[in-house]
Symmetry: C2
Subunit: 480 residues, 2 copies
């Protein structure tokens, strides 16, 4: 629905945010004054200045694209956010709820009653209703489904039946079909009767009498060919198409690779069931990248910048708990060598370097493996070759950085034995780190997860424990 509001490009959204904040500040100022002078509440509501600011704010909001309103809601603390939310015209609620992040959506939905929610969702397309449904209370969803006609209800239910990260979960039902045996003139007359084409339409879908997809007809071809040409003569008869059960990541790669704007989705019998558009794919790619970034820091879900301390802390605990466990394990490895450390306290100062360098070089191997696995560039035949390469780099780095740290250790402690232990431990722990960085994502994929899932925690666990073990063990054996 989003192309119904022309986005006002001349005023970037940051400027709009600033204007909204200014209006809010003026509103607060008036409210503060009134409060100080102990004006009764109803006079405050009547206060002309006060009203003026809110009216101006509302006008400003009405002119904004739903995505811009969403951006402003994200950037405002809870109190201001709800004030702005209440000023937004009800018929735009649905579009805006679709655009905000999960965390902010939750804060907005919490303030709405069942009637408002049903009305907001009912204004959306069926695929958008399905996107919103998981965040709505169950009774709202039931009420909503009841309010839809049969065809739409079937579409919502089918969208809900697909995984969020599948093509079925991303597709919409907004497409125009046409027969192959008509002329462009007939097709154009049909389109004029329709009066409007769905957003992002760059092609019509050509189907036979059984609704089986047999080709696509790019709109631009319709414009440059003579009206008496037949659709069959200028359609593409082998278009890129997807199945509803295809993973969304595969579809995203195809959109990137083949520069698609829209693509048909067909069922097992080849019947047209939906349409995928580049804007949804773009949102998916961005959301995936964000999720990876948040996951890498152990944030379980997107955090509302202005959520409460308690809620934010809970979001972060699981990861901290896991890390505490791995750190405790590494600590016990060190604990096993307390006798050695008592005799030679320099070991305690040097051991973090061995573990740290292992962690850093291991994470380089890990990152390249995760990327290669995600892109499908790593296969059985080339794993051996890649492992040899990574081990080669580890040996090269181990010799180089090990020698350097050996030298530094010798200069610092004037103990040639300690220097040699340092050098050898660096070499060994870089080799272990390369192995760990190489194997960890492969194991994680075998277990059926995304290669990046938990890979860094696992790597740090190995490089810390093994780094301490190698360095302190070697020192105990050789020096003490």
């Amino acid at each position: 629905m989003s192309d119904q509001h022309e986005p006002p490009a001349q005023a970037p959204v940051e400027d709009s945010l600033k204007q909204v904040k200014d209006l809010l500040a003026r509103h607060r100022l008036v409210e503060g004054l009134v409060h100080k002078q102990n004006m009764p509440r109803h006079e405050l509501v009547e206060s002309l200045v006060h009203k003026q600011n809110l009216v101006e704010l509302q006008k400003k909001l009405d002119k904004l694209h739903p995505a811009d309103v969403a951006y402003i809601l994200e950037a405002l603390p809870l109190e201001d956010r709800l004030l702005v939310w209440n000023l937004v015209k009800a018929d735009r609620d649905g579009d805006i709820l679709l655009e905000v992040s999960d965390a902010v959506r939750e804060s907005l939905i919490a303030t709405m009653n069942i009637h408002e929610l049903v009305a907001a969702a009912a204004s959306l397309d069926t695929d958008e209703i399905a996107d919103l449904a998981p965040d709505l209370p169950k009774d709202v969803v039931q009420e909503l489904l009841k309010s839809l006609d049969h065809a739409k209800r079937v579409q919502v239910e089918s969208s809900l039946s697909y995984d969020e990260d599948s093509v079925g979960g991303l597709m919409d039902y907004d497409f125009v079909t046409i027969r192959a045996d008509v002329t462009l003139e007939v097709a154009l007359r049909y389109l004029r009767r329709l009066g409007e084409l769905p957003s992002h339409s760059d092609k019509l879908f050509v189907v036979d009498r059984n609704e089986r997809l047999i080709g696509t007809l790019p709109l631009k071809r319709m414009l440059v060919h003579d009206p008496d040409v037949h659709v069959a003569a200028i359609m593409s008869d082998d278009p890129v198409k997807f199945s509803p059960s295809d993973p969304a990541t595969d579809a995203a790669q195809a959109f990137e690779r083949y520069d698609l704007v829209t693509a048909p989705v067909v069922d097992a019998r080849g019947n047209l069931v939906g349409r995928l558009t580049v804007d949804v794919v773009l949102d998916f790619i961005r959301a995936e990248a964000e999720e990876d970034m948040l996951q890498a820091a152990g944030l379980r879900e997107e955090e509302d910048l202005f959520s409460t301390v308690w809620k934010a802390a809970k979001n972060r605990w699981l990861w901290l708990a896991i890390n505490l466990c791995t750190a405790l394990f590494a600590s016990r490895v060190v604990g096993a060598f307390e006798g050695s450390i008592e005799k030679l306290a320099a070991l305690a100062a040097l051991m973090p370097i061995v573990a740290g360098m292992g962690g850093n070089s291991g994470s380089q191997t890990l990152t390249l493996m995760v990327r290669g696995l995600a892109l499908g560039l790593i296969s059985k035949e080339n794993t051996k070759r890649l492992l040899i390469k990574e081990l080669g780099i580890a040996v090269l780095n181990g010799v180089m950085w090990g020698s350097m740290m050996g030298l530094i250790t010798w200069l610092l402690y004037d103990n040639i034995g300690l220097a040699l232990v340092m050098a050898a431990a660096m070499l060994m722990s870089l080799i272990v780190a390369a192995l760990a960085g190489f194997v960890a994502p492969i194991i994680i994929v075998r277990l059926g997860h995304d290669p990046a899932f938990g890979a860094h925690v696992l790597l740090t666990f190995i490089t810390d424990s093994m780094g301490f073990l190698i360095f302190l063990g070697l020192a105990t054996l050789v020096l003490l």
Copy 2:
């Protein structure tokens, strides 16, 4: 140019890769047999079976979309890659070079002579030539510019003058303009005379007689309106438009926010100078996400999976060197407390936990700050509020995890003083970590960098050194 090859969706690219690998394996097998039997080289070339495999491989490659050939080249070790590259038809070299990663592009360009390179680049659009030019030898670029006509040369030179990460660096020159005072019928006749529209065209750009942009006309509106309507009546007169100097990230956000397919680029006087398309924006977004991921692990550039050990190692050194320095600094902090550690070796075992938990919780704060800064959600007014929130979380976490580690320490070492020191050190270092995670990206932005640039290294430096200092310092003061 990419929409000239219909991508064969029915056979996913992974299948094509497998088929190519099979053909290569068969080719190698024959070559191996011939080699074993000491056949002279010219007989080998004549060998029918051998030839057949290569012919079949070439046929297979000719049928593939340039992006699919690029994917296959990425997945093959250098030797096989160059064999495949030589089989690809010369007129597709340019398109394929555009699709491969920088590292692989370098390996392919290294095998081509100046004439091949000029011919490959000359087959591209002017904006694509500009994309390729930075990777080409200087004499090739000069030769290439000489071979272009004046208008095209000006376009290439203007593209080259813009920053790679600006709208000017991403825009193309493939657009169709039209006047506002003509009817759709006239416009349609004009388009039919043109015979073809540029890829991704979803709208025409409406200009006045001075080439000033005054609106856009979506193709789908042309299809649904009567031929006697005037362009002015149905055009959008306030379209989203960009300036060549706008940062590409801003344009990417606008494409996402407003679900654009193409957008005009205008100069300061409002004259149309170029066009931005969603496929280029998509590639940009993906490339940015990849770069962030690689940068986070200190990989300076994309690595060819099959590059030499030496080349790959050099790519990774800078980061390891920086990390060695920060680790050395942290090690000297520990070194200052060697006396305390000799007396109480348990300190050495416990200190990595304090530093590690600080690093982990600090990186959670950091990640949210980096995201908020990148999206422009963090402003002067709300920094204080956010800082208070992050400090609140740090105190909550510090009390919780600190008490837990205090208890564990007491159980492990039966030393109540040590347990209290542990708890207090955890609390303090989590507060320091939150401060560091909060301030580091702000400082980096002030210095004019991307907020993620080096932020994690800086954070680890602070949390490690301060974690050790707080824990060992407190222990020395209280216990010894």
